[in-house]
Structure formats: structure tokens, C-alpha cells
């Protein structure tokens, strides 16, 4: 298989007090490289849980998650950190920028973490800042930016190391319509440009217009899986 992510009969059970709560019921899914897709479903349907499992931030109760044939369950903590560092970009609903860092430093951060010297990657950081249209704000701190601008920084931070997979948990939930469209447009642009796969979770209708594939979740089960066909409508 040459999927970027394979989810094989993944279940997730949370223990709440002394009761078990099943957030995901044996889900199976394959995601191809360069996908631009979303998990949609009502609140509590398990979207975040599924993204966390793909990101190696959480472990399934049963079943396996593969990233390009590597079974995440077999990686230890350090290897998981490396997996995230090398292959993943995260975009959060609440942006999660590092508050004491400037726009430039926030975007530079993943590259430094990966062992690059600043002088060697300066150019690509500046290009990235440019790609998300923030060249004028480069020295500002997150607290001095609008929500839309923060999310652009977060997107740039996720993309700067050219990962193969971007996980975006409700990236537009805190943004108004105008900003949501811009952000989605930007991500689709970057998806084409960098060939990175994007997986969103959302209950935002607007997202549907942009994605090529939509997986519907309800009560921890996949209830539909639609792809855009050649003529641009879902089937």
C-alpha cells in the first residue's frame, strides 16, 4: 500500500470515572498522499480523537495507525516525537503560537528543532512568511496579531519544514467567514504547491467547498466517505 496514513480497525475507549466511554468504534480508513480532506461531524463525534491518534499524540485502545507502513503503536515516546518533528505539521483551533516569540521566530522554531542553523534556513522562513502574506508583521508577537493572522502564522509554522502531512483541528472555528475563506484558500494553494496532505476536522460547512474528500463521523463511527469526482461534485 502507498497510502500516507492507514487506519486499521482503530477503537478508542476513554475511562471516565469507573465507566468506559467508546469515542471511536473500530474505524478503518486509508488516506492517500497529497489528500485535502476533512472529518466532519457533530461535536463529540470523535474528530479530534481521530486526529490525535494519527498525530501520535494519543494511542488507540485497539487497532493500528500506520504512517507510510510504519505502525505508530510500535514507536516509543522519543520515536513518536521524531515522527511528529519530521513528518507532521499541526494547526490548532486556538493557534497555539509561542507567546514570547515573534512571527518570524514562531515559524523558524520547527526548523531549529530539527537541527538547522538559523542562517541556513532564514531564506525559507522569509519565503514562508511571504506565502502566508505576513511580511509586514514579521516582528510582531502573537498578542499583537488578529485571529486570522495568528492562524496564518500557525499554517506557516506547520508547513515550513515541508511535512508530508498537516493535521488541522478546526482551523477555522475561531475565525469569521471572510478570514475562514482566506485561510482555506491559502491552505488549498499550499496543498497544491507543497504536495502536503491536509486533514481537517470541522463542523464548518464552508470547508466542504474546498476539500476533495469528506469523511462523516457520528458517535465514533464513519457514516459516509465522499470524494469529489471529475466534475467537482461529491459522490
Amino acid at each position: 500500500m502507498n497510502n500516507i496514513v492507514s487506519i486499521d480497525k482503530v477503537a478508542k475507549v476513554f475511562r471516565v470515572g469507573d465507566e468506559d466511554f467508546t469515542a471511536l468504534h473500530e474505524i478503518s480508513l486509508d488516506i492517500e498522499p497529497g489528500a485535502f480532506m476533512s472529518f466532519v461531524g457533530p461535536s463529540g463525534s470523535g474528530k479530534t480523537t481521530l486526529l490525535n491518534l494519527i498525530g501520535g499524540l494519543d494511542q488507540p485502545t485497539s487497532g493500528s495507525v500506520f504512517f507510510k507502513n510504519v505502525k505508530l503503536g510500535e514507536l516509543n515516546r522519543t520515536a513518536l516525537a521524531e515522527y511528529r518533528r519530521k513528518n507532521l505539521g499541526f494547526i490548532f483551533q486556538t493557534y497555539n503560537l509561542l507567546p514570547v516569540y515573534s512571527v518570524y521566530e514562531n515559524i523558524l522554531f520547527p526548523l531549529l528543532l530539527d537541527g538547522n542553523k538559523e542562517s541556513a534556513v532564514r531564506r525559507s522562513v522569509l519565503d514562508m512568511v511571504d506565502s502566508v502574506g505576513l511580511s509586514d508583521q514579521i516582528k510582531k508577537r502573537p498578542s499583537q496579531l488578529s485571529g486570522g493572522q495568528c492562524q496564518r502564522v500557525a499554517i506557516a509554522r506547520a508547513l515550513v519544514k515541508k511535512p508530508e502531512l498537516i493535521l488541522a483541528d478546526e482551523p477555522t472555528a475561531n475565525l469569521d467567514a471572510e478570514n475562514s475563506f482566506q485561510i482555506l484558500e491559502l491552505m488549498r494553494e499550499l496543498n497544491k504547491q507543497f504536495k502536503a496532505a491536509f486533514i481537517f476536522s470541522t463542523h464548518d460547512e464552508k470547508v466542504t467547498k474546498y476539500v476533495n474528500r469528506e469523511v462523516g463521523l457520528e458517535d465514533g463511527r464513519v457514516c459516509w466517505d465522499k470524494r469529489r469526482n471529475g466534475s467537482g461534485s461529491f459522490e
Partner: protein, 389 residues
């Protein structure tokens, strides 16, 4: 890399970091200050006793007990030659007898302390007695401490009647002239004590050359007919008193350290608590647990180091100032504690170091433990701010 991040995080926290550092520094200063004050109290007390009374120890006539005035009369003897021959700077002979003053027609029992006026071993302001001859005349010259003068309602130039008994038990009485009222740093040689010339007291009691004790600069080996008492024995009661005080000081030290520790703990925990999401984000970005823990521990260590630096700086300034003023404890002058002047700090390096070590350890520990706990849980909890609640 981690170091750079830590430094950025630390140096850009702004006012919160400054406050954190200041609070920690002040806590350390307070802790050291408190214990040093007690040390100073102890040191000064001991020093005063030694300076004015005890010197390097006493050769005492066996059986002499300063607490049994009724026996003073009989517990005397001629001064041994070996001690008498010592230079003035190395021995101070004293004869102690009972007497009664009658200021304002009231009876006031006193300790008559005859002291060799030529001695320079003890630091006693008795120059007023020097100009008198060796034989006592019609009027007995005496020096009083300020407190004694107050209690007996006497001032310089006053005369009053002094009664005492000679070696045969015969009561004698004569006029006494207060030639000087002086400040005594040791209240134990002030209250109830009437300072006379040794030769006068010997003359008055017909105890030529007799003494109760000889204070010496240092131990001279055994002396026939005398009993040597070391400094520690002579100030044992004071040492006991101080030792009790010290225990309180140490308990207080522990409490202060504990409070300081809790303060530091609280600030750090709050810091980590507020930054849970950041911890989760760092892990999502691919930092290993060890890196995140290292980062926070490093930040904590930076704060700790800076606190130590600030504490040393401020502390040195504060202590220097304090040493030039001292703590006025004149309100304690009524007690039997032999200190009269202002108390200075006595800083023990061991206590300074242990204070620093404890506070710094707490600081580093609480920036390490909770973060380690968070990074060992799954990062999703930290991202949702639920790892520590």
C-alpha cells in the same frame, strides 16, 4: 538550542519574571537575615561577658559561688604569687563581698566588687577610681553602672552610707562617694554591683591581699589552692539561654525557608499550569519529553541563578547598611541578658549556602517535577490544559 529557547522564554517574560526573581531573592535575604541576627546576638553576648568579666577564665577560690552572697565573705584567700606576678594585661584580681547602701534611708543590698585598678585585661570604665590612694580614707570612692545608679537613685557626686562587715564579722559603716556613673555593656556587672578599688575593699574588710577570683588571659596550669573555671563554665547560663533562643531561631529559620519554598513552589507551579498548552504544543511540534523537561528546568534554573545573584547584591547592600547601624535592643536592657549596645549581624557562610541551596533546589525541582509529569501523560491532556488541574 534548548538553552537559547530557555533564555528567550525567561528573558521575555517581563514583569512576571522580575517579580518571581525579586520574591525569591527577598525570601533568601529574609531567611539569612533572621538567623544572622540571632548569631550576632549570641556572639555579642558572649563577647561582652568575656570582655567585661570572664576573660580567658577565672581562677576561683574553691567553693566561691556568685549566686550565694552569704558565703562570699568566707570564700576568699591570699592571691597566689604565680597569679599576682602576671602582667596587668594578663590578669585581673577581684574580691567580692556583701554590702548595704542606704540611699534615701532605704536599705539596698549590693555586691561590693573590688577590682585591681591597674589591670587592663578586662574592659571596664573604672578610670574614676585610679586617682585615689591605696589606703581607703574617710570617704569610699565607688563607680556605678547607669542601671545601678538609676535603681539606687544615685548620681555622680552623691554620697550615701555604705555598711559592710570585716573579716571578724564586725559591721562597719562609712560614707560612700559616687565618683562616676558609667555605661556597662554587660548588665550583669552593672545592676546590684558597686565597683571599688581592690586595695580599698581589702583594707575595709581587713583582708590584705585577699581575692575571690583572678581572671586571666589564658590558663596558667593548675595553681595550688585555686580552682580554674573555663569560659564555657562561667557563661554556661548565658549559653543555655542563647541555645534555647537559637532553637527558636532555627525553628523560625525552617518555617521561613518553608514559607519561601512554598512561595517559590506556588509561583513555579502556576507558571507551569499556565503553560500546559505550550507544553502540549511543543510536544506536537516534535520536542521529546526530555527536551521539554530540560527546557523548563533550564528556565527554572535561570530564575534561580538570577535570584541568587540579586539576593547577593541586595543582601550585601542591606547587610552593609545594617552593620553600620545595628539593631537597637535597649528595650531588652532590663533583662539579665548581658548586651547593651546595638546588635550586629553575624553571618555564617554555612547558613547562607544552605539557604541558597535549599531555595534553588526547590525552584529547580518544581520546574522539573510537574513538567516531567505532564510530558509523561499524553500530550493531548496538556494541549487541552487538563494535565494538571
Amino acid at each position: 538550542m534548548i538553552f537559547n529557547i530557555a533564555w528567550k522564554n525567561f528573558s521575555r517574560q517581563g514583569i512576571r519574571a522580575v517579580l518571581n526573581v525579586m520574591v525569591t531573592a527577598l525570601a533568601m535575604i529574609a531567611v539569612v537575615f533572621n538567623i544572622s541576627l540571632y548569631n550576632g546576638f549570641q556572639a555579642q553576648t558572649t563577647r561582652n561577658m568575656i570582655r567585661t568579666d570572664v576573660a580567658g577564665g577565672h581562677y576561683r577560690v574553691p567553693g566561691f559561688d556568685i549566686l550565694s552572697p552569704t558565703e562570699w565573705e568566707d570564700v576568699t584567700r591570699k592571691i597566689p604569687e604565680s597569679l599576682d606576678d602576671l602582667p596587668n594585661a594578663e590578669r585581673a584580681s577581684a574580691l567580692v563581698q556583701q554590702g548595704q547602701l542606704f540611699p534615701n534611708r532605704r536599705l539596698y543590698p549590693v555586691q561590693l566588687r573590688g577590682i585591681d585598678v591597674h589591670q587592663t585585661l578586662l574592659d571596664l570604665p573604672l578610670d574614676g577610681l585610679k586617682s585615689y590612694g591605696e589606703r581607703v580614707e574617710d570617704i569610699i570612692p565607688a563607680v556605678l553602672g547607669v542601671k545601678m545608679a538609676q535603681k539606687a537613685h544615685l548620681k555622680q557626686g552623691d554620697t550615701t552610707v555604705l555598711k559592710w562587715r570585716d573579716r571578724h564579722g564586725v559591721v562597719d559603716a562609712r560614707d560612700l562617694l559616687v565618683v562616676d556613673v558609667v555605661t556597662m555593656v554587660n548588665s550583669r556587672v552593672d545592676e546590684g554591683v558597686l565597683w571599688l578599688r581592690l586595695d580599698h575593699l581589702q583594707d575595709m574588710t581587713q583582708r590584705q591581699n585577699e581575692i575571690s577570683w583572678v581572671a586571666v588571659k589564658e590558663f596558667q596550669g593548675p595553681v595550688q589552692g585555686m580552682e580554674f573555671q573555663e569560659v564555657d563554665e562561667l557563661i554556661a547560663d548565658i549559653l543555655n539561654l542563647i541555645e534555647n533562643d537559637r532553637k527558636y531561631a532555627q525553628v523560625f529559620w525552617v518555617i521561613l525557608i518553608f514559607l519561601a519554598g512554598i512561595g517559590v513552589f506556588n509561583t513555579q507551579i502556576l507558571n507551569v499550569f499556565k503553560r500546559q498548552k505550550e507544553i502540549g504544543t511543543l510536544m506536537a511540534l516534535g520536542m521529546t519529553s526530555a527536551q521539554v523537561v530540560g527546557l523548563f528546568t533550564l528556565e527554572g534554573s535561570m530564575a534561580a541563578l538570577l535570584s541568587v545573584f540579586v539576593a547577593l547584591l541586595l543582601g550585601t547592600a542591606l547587610f552593609a547598611w545594617f552593620q553600620s547601624v545595628g539593631l537597637d535592643i535597649s528595650h531588652l536592657a532590663e533583662s539579665t541578658i548581658p548586651v547593651h549596645e546595638n546588635i550586629l549581624l553575624d553571618i555564617h557562610s554555612g547558613e547562607v549556602v544552605s539557604t541558597i541551596v535549599i531555595i534553588v533546589s526547590v525552584m529547580v525541582l518544581v520546574s522539573w517535577l510537574p513538567v516531567r509529569k505532564i510530558t509523561r501523560l499524553d500530550p493531548t491532556l496538556a494541549l487541552r490544559g487538563r494535565a494538571i488541574t
